[in-house]
Amino acid sequence: MYNFDITRPTTVDEAVAALSADEAQPLSGGQTLIPTLKQRLAMPSVLVSLTAIDEMKGITEGPGTLKVGGGTTHGDVAQATKGSFAGLHTLASKIGDPAVRARGTIGGSVANNDPAACYPSACMACAATIHTNTRDIAADDFFQGMFTTALDEGEIVTAVTLKVPEKSSYQKFEQPASRFPLVGVFVAKHADGVRVGVTGASNNGVFRWAEAEEALSSNFSPDAIEGLSVSAEDLMGDLHGSPEYRAHLIKVMTKRGVADAS
């Protein structure tokens, strides 16, 4: 780890101001950033901690929606969605381990947009709106590829509003050591159709599996996608799974998600 300064603003405005400093870096739960710093893979001059900003914390239910503050931990999301939002509950309660869930936040997850992060798949499948200190961005527009989002420099994710589906399921095929998804599929059945968000699999980050959404919207059953296949082109390949394996798993996990949600 290199030396750095740290500030802990208590309002979004203060945080935005602090982030204007040269080589400043926002720090949320730190479950990705701190290990990165420890390995000297980044050397920010200032860390702007977002964890003391009360207005970014908490969960509020709206009509058919759930608004989650950017600074809300995975553990709090898991707690709040128990029995009411199956897919999101599963997703949040299986990120990392209890220590990770006590620190990591939804805002940090979507802002970082790790191609193997869980939350982006839920955002895609639940037609989420990403709120920042300056604007609202639809999930479909927000995630722009591996570690790339629509966020501008110094822009902070203050909250995420998800459309609560009628039925949902999150199916994660875990990398055995990190427990990150090798493939994670979020299946959400909304009144106006089915959305399928896929994470962990693509070189372009999280994506929606359009053919499956179409097939499932007319017939929400595993059989509906039996004839479909996912192209391995542009999928990730690493020591734990080739693009072809990931393509295969996307279909398997989607079918399991549909069966689980049905």
């Binding site: 055995p176 050591a177 990190s178 020591l239 734990h240 072809e244 394996y245 393509a247 295969h248 398997v252």
Partner: protein
């Protein structure tokens, strides 16, 4: 007087019982003393700049930026250390033809694997040393890289060591009978290509060493996490030009070793050399990346193998062609040829057959050097043998248990010599198989498998019989010229309060050596184990010995401890007889009391005897021996190795959609001879099984074609974790070795030896109705799906 092991109610009956581990509470309280816990006055830290490339000429080293870091004291290049530290060559005379070039503590002129230490940086803190190491600028002029084992000897492959003439480190062919004729006349010949992946040991405590040089005494003291303190004493003395008697190696608590910590590592020798130059304590603790790139690797084998059987399933021939790539140097002093040699020695081990041919080819590569790791060669040989036997059974439609029963050496066939020329004193393959069948309820499990199949669940049962080489004699290393002791010793003394101190040449790495020794000494002398203190791991204090490896601690060190304990008992009784004016043969020691042997009536506590001997010796008869210290040594002499045997079984389920294997249950019945501490043996078996399961399902070191290690972290090198482990049932058959009074053979490696083969056979049992088969470890979900043709490129 002999010990009535068969009578559990005999006096002082500690051998054969689970007794508390004397060091457990201390370790659980965090009061262990590992090398990194030791802080000495004036201590400094060393970090290493390591080669980032697999093969390159070193054309320039710029140390200026590194020197400028605050806290940096001194930097050493390979040339600097070569002036005070001689290079070594990892060959053994009895491994004919084995060759390897001289290896230096730090690379001189040339680096030959990613991670090889090039420059040592000494600083007042570890952080400063690491900071400076990252600023060491080395000019590397790339040389051709050799990474593939199977093409290493091809004429167009560049030579790693042009002076050696080729990339062949070692080759051994063993032939017995007429394999070709047997195959030609066989009912079936089945062949398969096996692969075991490159592993490493992943000890919780990384390699650690702290070396001090006292110029006034011209004495070196090395605090070292090692399995072989006396071997390291010799190494430091020889290569740093110090009289052996002026090197002291102290090995306190060690956080796991598995064979990783029994080798000579360049960075550790460099640390010792630097301590001698600087005249102050120098500490080196490997970090996790260094562990992955510099701890020895193992098991990187590719094998073509065949088995020939007749209509009745009788094995007619086994034919094995084994290849392994070992890195650029054969590791000193045990060499990197032993693993391949073991494959030749061990294939076909449980079976009575006539025609055997096995060749191992050991080639150099630009990867981390490989060497002995838990169960050296066994998991490979067992996978080959048991894989072939199952394939043969399937080919002739025979139950896998039945084909084994028809071929295993009969339990009354011993002594016997195998086709590999291994001599077996007494094994129990059939009794072990009987016990396994009973424990696992084989027939019920087969019924469950059928029922599950009807529900679309693909379950499999895998059996793996095995032999394990333990208690090695000098035939393992000594005859090859290595100063590695096969003998071990124990000194036992009684102090005035009647308590007993035992000093042993075998060492504790967390496996319970000290518990095992304490109960043997307790029974040998006649006191409670709580009255025995064990001292291990100090070359200046304990008797000379080999340390702990090749499952020798209990069998060799235990016998020495028993004999020393009984000798002390005799000395005590001689004094007691004089004090009590009794016949010595009529006295015994029980639970710390001198008693009448016949009646058990207490005559005198040991404290009283101690008081008289140490403080009122004037009252004893003049000339009465009063040596309350006794030392005994033990070495095997009848057999080169004490072989053990056993059989494992795995029950698992394969998810044919994802390829995931779920381990449902695992069994192991083993025969390590006399069991000294049932709990410790079971722990060894279970832990060994876990490491074997890791090899079967998870562990694989990956390199790219440039020799870059691709998974040097715990996030990418998959070790087995508790959540994935099945329940394990461990059973025992006891066939004590007649070579020692104790009768103990080794138990440390049996679990690792058999588990991968059991899992492989179980997976293939599950996949067989679908016409699929896997033989390349680890059996990752993707490999299983590819075998099922569910994914294609």
């Amino acid at each position: 007087m002999t010990i009535a092991f068969g009578n559990p109610d005999r006096p002082n009956s500690y051998i054969g019982k689970t007794v508390p581990r004397p060091n457990a509470e201390r370790l659980v309280q965090g009061r262990g003393r590992y090398v990194d816990d030791i802080v000495l006055p004036r201590m400094v830290h060393v970090a290493f700049a390591r080669s980032p490339v697999a093969h390159a000429r070193i054309t320039g080293i710029d140390l200026e930026a590194a020197k400028a870091v605050k806290g940096v004291l001194r930097l050493f290049t390979g040339a600097d250390l070569a002036e005070i530290c001689t290079p070594w060559v990892g060959v053994l005379a009895h491994l004919k033809g084995l060759k390897s070039p001289p290896q230096h503590a730090l690379a001189v002129d040339r680096a030959a694997w990613v991670g090889e230490p090039v420059v040592a940086v000494v600083a007042t803190t570890r952080a400063a040393a690491e900071e400076a190491a990252s600023l060491v600028m080395v000019d590397y002029d790339d040389l051709p890289v050799v990474t593939d084992t199977m093409t290493a000897l091809d004429p167009e492959t560049p030579l790693i060591h042009p002076d050696l003439g080729d990339n062949l480190a070692f080759r051994r062919l063993h032939e017995e009978g007429d394999v070709e004729a047997a195959k030609a006349g066989a009912h079936k010949v089945v062949s398969a290509r096996f692969r075991t992946a490159r592993h490493t040991g992943v000890t919780l405590e990384p390699r650690s060493i702290l070396v001090d040089w006292n110029p006034a005494e011209e004495q070196m003291t090395a605090y070292h996490a090692t399995q072989a303190p006396h071997m390291m004493q010799t190494v430091f003395a020889e290569h740093l030009a110090i009289p052996e008697g002026r090197v002291r190696v102290i090995c306190d608590d060690v956080g796991g070793s598995y064979g990783i910590k029994v080798h000579v590592y360049p960075d550790e020798v460099a640390t010792a050399a630097i301590a001698k130059v600087m005249g102050r304590p120098v500490k080196f603790i490997a970090d996790r990346l260094e562990s992955f790139t510099t701890d020895i690797h193992a098991r990187d084998h590719e094998i073509e193998a065949k088995i020939a059987v007749d209509e009745d399933g009788k094995i007619l021939a086994i034919d094995v062609d084994d290849w392994t790539g070992i890195g650029p140097y054969s590791v000193y002093p045990r060499t990197s040829a032993i693993e391949g040699n073991q494959v030749v020695n061990l294939c076909g081990g449980p079976y009575d057959f006539a025609n055997y041919r096995a060749q191992t080819t050991v080639v150099f590569q630009n990867k981390t050097p490989t060497c002995q790791y838990r169960a050296v060669g066994h998991p490979i040989a067992v996978a080959i043998t048991e894989g072939l036997v199952d394939l043969a059974a399937a080919a002739i439609g025979m139950d896998p248990v039945e084909i084994r029963r028809r071929n295993m050496y009969a339990d009354d066939a011993y002594p016997v010599t195998s086709p590999a020329k291994m001599r077996f004193e007494g094994l129990s393959h059939h009794a072990s198989m009987d016990k396994l069948m009973e424990l696992m309820d084989y027939d019920a499990l087969r019924a469950d498998q059928v029922a599950a199949r009807k529900q679309g669940k693909h379950r499999g049962i895998g059996i793996a019989s095995f032999i394990e080489l333990t208690n090695p004699s000098p035939f393992m290393y000594g005859i090859g010229g290595a100063r590695i002791s096969a003998q071990d010793g124990c000194t036992v003394r009684m102090d005035p309060d009647g308590s007993v101190v035992a000093m042993s040449g075998v060492t504790e790495q967390g496996q319970g050596t000290e518990a095992m020794l304490s109960q043997i000494v307790a029974e040998g002398v006649g006191v409670s184990p709580s009255r025995v203190r064990i001292i291990t791991g100090d070359t200046q204090v304990t008797p000379y010995g080999g340390g702990t490896w090749a499952s020798r601690g209990a069998g060799i060190g235990g016998e020495a401890a028993l004999q020393a304990g009984r000798a002390l008992r005799d000395s005590i009784l001689e004094v007691a007889a004089a004090m009590l004016q009794a016949d010595q043969s009529g006295l015994d020691i029980r639970d710390g009391q001198i008693v009448d042997a016949d009646t058990g009536i207490e005559r005198m506590p040991l404290e009283e005897l101690g008081r008289i001997v140490y403080f009122r010796g004037d009252t004893l008869p003049k000339g009465l021996p009063r040596e309350l210290v006794q030392t005994r040594h033990y070495i095997t002499s009848e057999y080169p190795f004490a072989f053990t045997n056993g059989v494992q079984a795995s029950y698992l389920e394969v998810d044919t959609d994802t390829g995931v294997v779920t381990l449902l249950k695992h069994w192991c019945v083993e025969d390590c001879g006399r069991i000294i501490n049932p709990q410790l043996v079971d722990e060894q078996i279970r832990g060994g099984i876990v490491q074997g399961l890791g090899g079967a399902l998870f562990e694989e070191i990956h390199y790219d074609q440039d020799g870059q290690l691709l998974n040097g972290s715990m996030a990418d090198y998959l070790v087995p974790m508790a959540g994935e482990m099945p329940d394990m049932v461990v059973g025992h058959v006891e066939t004590p070795t007649a070579e020692s009074e104790l009768g103990a053979k080794g138990a440390g490696e049996a679990g690792t030896a058999g588990a991968p083969a059991a899992v492989m056979n179980a997976i293939n049992d599950a996949l067989r109705p679908m016409g699929a088969q896997v033989t390349e470890m680890p059996f990752t979900p993707e490999r299983i799906l590819r075998a099922l043709s569910k994914i294609q490129d």
